[in-house]
């Protein structure tokens, strides 16, 4: 019975995995459909910082400085000569270095990308280390009081409803 269940369940998990992979491939690879001009403007302005705000993107901000960049991006998109990256580069040149919202991956900015990975590795390593310690040192000394508590509890287990 048990073995039969095992085989059956193994097969059904395999089927599930295949279906999931298939669906992900179908959905993930297909075309996302045409972007409107406005969609392109939104995509680009999400990567540009509003020069006069605190950490807001041009997409989010309603400040006049953001408005100015937004209409420049709109002009560039309407002209449809430059690619998205080229438009971002152009705006960056025209409006100065601060307008890029995504930190670069050069210089000191490398840290902002690298440190989260370092943190994850450290956290996982610390957890793995703790697991080893927990499994080798099983518990500590049991005090008499603790032992009595457990014994009492085990004795009283019968009057559970």
């Amino acid at each position: 019975m048990n073995a039969a269940f095992n085989v059956k369940s193994r097969w059904s998990w395999l089927v599930m995995l295949l279906i999931a992979t298939g669906l992900l491939l179908v959905g993930g690879m297909r075309d996302t459909g045409p972007l409107t001009q406005q969609d392109r403007i939104d995509l680009i302005t999400k990567h540009l910082a509003c020069p006069t705000c605190q950490g807001e993107s041009v997409y989010v901000s309603r400040a006049p400085s953001a408005e100015a960049i937004r209409s420049e991006v709109a002009r560039q998109v309407a002209a449809s000569v430059r690619t998205n990256d080229e438009i971002i580069g152009y705006i960056e040149q025209r409006f100065g270095g601060q307008v890029l919202l995504v930190p670069r991956s050069t210089g000191l900015e490398v840290l902002v990308w690298a440190l989260p990975v370092v943190a994850l590795v450290c956290a996982v390593a610390a957890l793995a280390f703790s697991f080893r310690r927990w499994r080798t040192v099983s518990g500590g000394e049991i005090s008499q009081e603790d032992a009595r508590l457990v014994a009492d509890a085990l004795n009283n287990q019968d009057d559970r409803p």
Partner: protein, 656 residues
């Protein structure tokens, strides 16, 4: 009006002084009661807590009185008050700037202090209670001093002022300003209670599980309000700011999210300590982090340091908050180090594939999440300090890092709820995860069928379905066994919170990935179409009040009733504020904004249309989170208090 001049100010200042004295003596009474054990001193603790609360309520009421009577003798009323502000927004104007917000902090903290003292009135002779009250009073003292000193809202202003600009237009534009800040502060400030108990446990050396059990409802209460506060902030952003989003990863938002992340980690990992006696240092650290992050967040957002590293020393409260943050960290780390020997956890772990293993994985994810948010928020400061140049870290950075974390969290939410404590076998998992996994496949198939694209959103939808299956499995099994009691208690209420979180994740994934927008130039009588909907401009109207001039474009969507996106010019401040108008639906929202410039008599208007899928589920999920939190706070099926968790596992338990 001038007959009242100064009364509110004088009374307010006096009451803040009373609060300072009350907290100081309260702290002295609590700590000396802990040391001397004298009943007469112990009795004083609650009285000082009441005195504090009276002083704080009185000071806040004085400020409200000054605002309502438009007492322009006060500098704060000159800054945010105006004769033209409607009554409700005028009431909320009290917390629309720094000084008033800190006064609300004082009020809520005093409220918590008196509530804790009332709740513990029969345990006031306990040393742990005394120390916890002592810590509460010391934190109160700090905030009373801050409010009396560098951020005093009762400072007398320039003479002869008879009117002011009123609060920031964005803060007198939607009713949510009445609720978002108080909710957020109830959460933020509420984290002081578990922190106070954590410090008290360390000081008294009673670092076992007793204090945890005592404070878990307080933590849940504060966490619930913090959650609601953050979500109301997102809702406000959606309804008011006009960029159609709920979250922009700006520093102020991040400051509220950080303590929420560590508190959420704590709510999970504390279960491991309760059941297995492990993670004592870690849980203490999470509570200390949560509280200190509320202070750090306030420092970051209120001191001006984010404008420039050097601005914080110019702001009056910057050095205060930074010093307080440093003291908290040093004292807490020192205490944890000092109690190192007692904090050695007696428990041990059997297998990574177990409930406790899942909670540990959860904590790794939450820790990395908090680190990413903190790093992204303070990194511009680091670059400015080291290289004297400014950079901005914004939404694309956070999205890139947080999306994988979110997917990992959904995966964990799918598997963890079915895991037993101690150890799970592959067979058991395969059995328990079978139907939840099919839910996931179903959700994935449905998303592909309705046209969703992209790996990340599809993974989110599929895992969302899987995790919903796991959560509902727990609730269904529990209600089948215990009837309505299967809905209450931490495990069951927690699963309802999970379903809410999943709805929010799915709504965010959908709205971030599949929003389409288009700008339409509308002329009266000539409908335009976008994304299968027709938009027809019916009229452009102008409404003038004392406060503002508002131009509205009446736009009928699909021939239905007109929506009215507007641009409002606040005449006194000279600022234009757009107000979106939203047609809400279960499938998608149609979000309309009016784009400048607008002329009332032109019969034309430029509107921007956003089609945003599943946004409504964000609010439904939030409501479910709130309901789940309340259910989780009720005691569930009582385990016998001495139920031996280290005893052999019941064989029925395993095969279930």
């Amino acid at each position: 009006m001038f007959a009242d001049s100064g009364v509110a100010g004088t009374v307010g200042r006096a009451l803040l002084l009373v609060g300072i004295v009350g907290s100081l003596f309260g702290a002295i009474a609590a700590i000396s009661s802990a040391r001397t054990r004298e009943a007469a001193v112990t009795k004083l603790i609650s009285r000082f807590a009441i005195l504090n609360a009276v002083a704080a309520v009185g000071a806040f009421a004085s400020m409200e009185y000054a605002m309502i009577t438009r007492d322009f003798s006060l500098a704060y009323v000159q800054k945010v008050g105006s004769t033209a502000t409607p009554a409700l927004y005028n009431f909320a104007a009290v917390w629309s700037a720094l000084e008033g917000s800190l006064l609300m902090w004082v009020l809520i903290l005093a409220g918590y202090t008196v509530a804790v003292s009332f709740w513990l009135r029969k345990k006031m002779d306990d040393v742990l209670t005394n120390w916890a009250m002592g810590v509460m009073f010391i934190v109160s003292l700090f905030f009373f001093l801050l409010s009396f000193g560098p951020a005093n809202p009762f400072v007398v202003g320039a003479a002869g002022v008879v009117d002011g600009p009123g609060p920031n237009p964005l803060l007198q534009n939607h009713l949510l300003v009445m609720f978002h800040p108080p909710m957020l502060y109830l959460g933020y400030v509420g984290m002081t209670v578990p922190f106070a108990f954590a410090i008290a446990a360390l000081v008294t050396g009673r670092v076992g599980e007793g204090w945890l059990l005592a404070t878990r409802r307080w933590t849940l209460f504060a966490w619930g309000f913090l959650t609601i506060g953050i979500i109301l902030g997102g809702w406000w952003s959606y309804e008011v700011l006009g960029w159609s989003g709920v979250w922009a990863w700006d520093p102020v938002e991040n400051a509220s999210l950080l303590p929420w992340i560590t508190a959420t980690a704590y709510i999970h990992s504390v279960l491991v300590q309760e059941r297995r006696g492990m993670l004592r240092v870690w849980n203490l650290s999470l509570l200390v982090s949560t509280f200190s992050l509320t202070i750090l967040g306030t420092f970051l957002t209120r001191s001006g340091v984010l404008n420039s590293v050097h601005a914080f020393s110019e702001s009056a409260i910057g050095p205060w908050l930074l010093s307080f943050f440093a003291i908290i960290v040093v004292v807490s780390v020192g205490l944890i180090g000092w109690r190192g020997d007692r904090l050695h956890s007696p428990g041990s772990i059997d297998s990574a594939l177990s409930r406790e293993g899942a909670f540990l994985a959860n904590n790794v994810l939450f820790a990395v999440f908090a680190f990413v948010v903190l790093l992204g928020t303070v990194f511009p400061l680091v670059v400015e300090a080291l290289q004297s140049r400014t950079i901005v870290v914004g939404e694309p950075f956070f999205d890139q890092l947080v999306i994988p974390i979110g997917i990992a969290m959904l995966t964990l939410m799918a598997i963890a709820p079915v895991l037993p404590w101690r150890k799970a076998s592959g067979e058991l998992l395969s059995q328990r995860l079978f139907w939840p996994a099919w839910c996931g496949i179903g959700a994935l198939a449905l998303s592909v069928f309705v046209g969703a694209t992209g790996f990340a959103p599809l993974l989110a939808f599929g895992l969302g379905g899987f995790a919903t299956g796991s959560a509902l499995r727990q609730v269904v099994l529990a209600t089948r066994r215990q009837g309505w009691r299967g809905l209450v208690g931490r495990a069951n209420g927690g699963m309802i919170v999970h379903v809410g979180v999943i709805m929010i994740s799915v709504a965010l994934a959908a709205s971030n990935s599949f929003t389409h927008s288009q700008e339409l130039s509308l002329v009266v009588g000539k409908p335009a179409t976008f994304s299968g909907h027709t938009f027809e401009l019916i009229d452009v109207v102008q409404i003038t009040t004392d406060r503002d001039i508002s131009v509205k474009a009446l736009v009928s969507v699909d021939g239905g009733k007109p929506y009215a996106p507007a641009i409002t010019k606040f005449t006194k401040i000279g600022m234009n504020v757009g107000t979106p108008s939203v047609r809400t639906g279960f499938g998608s929202d149609i979000y309309l904004t009016l784009e400048p410039p607008v002329r009332q008599d032109s019969n034309e208007a430029r509107i921007k249309v956003f089609i945003k899928p599943l946004i409504l589920w964000l609010w439904i999920g939030s409501g479910l989170m709130a309901v789940g939190t309340v259910l989780a706070a009720f005691p569930g099926k009582r385990r016998k208090p001495t139920d031996p968790t280290s005893a052999l596992i019941d064989s029925h338990e395993v095969s279930r």
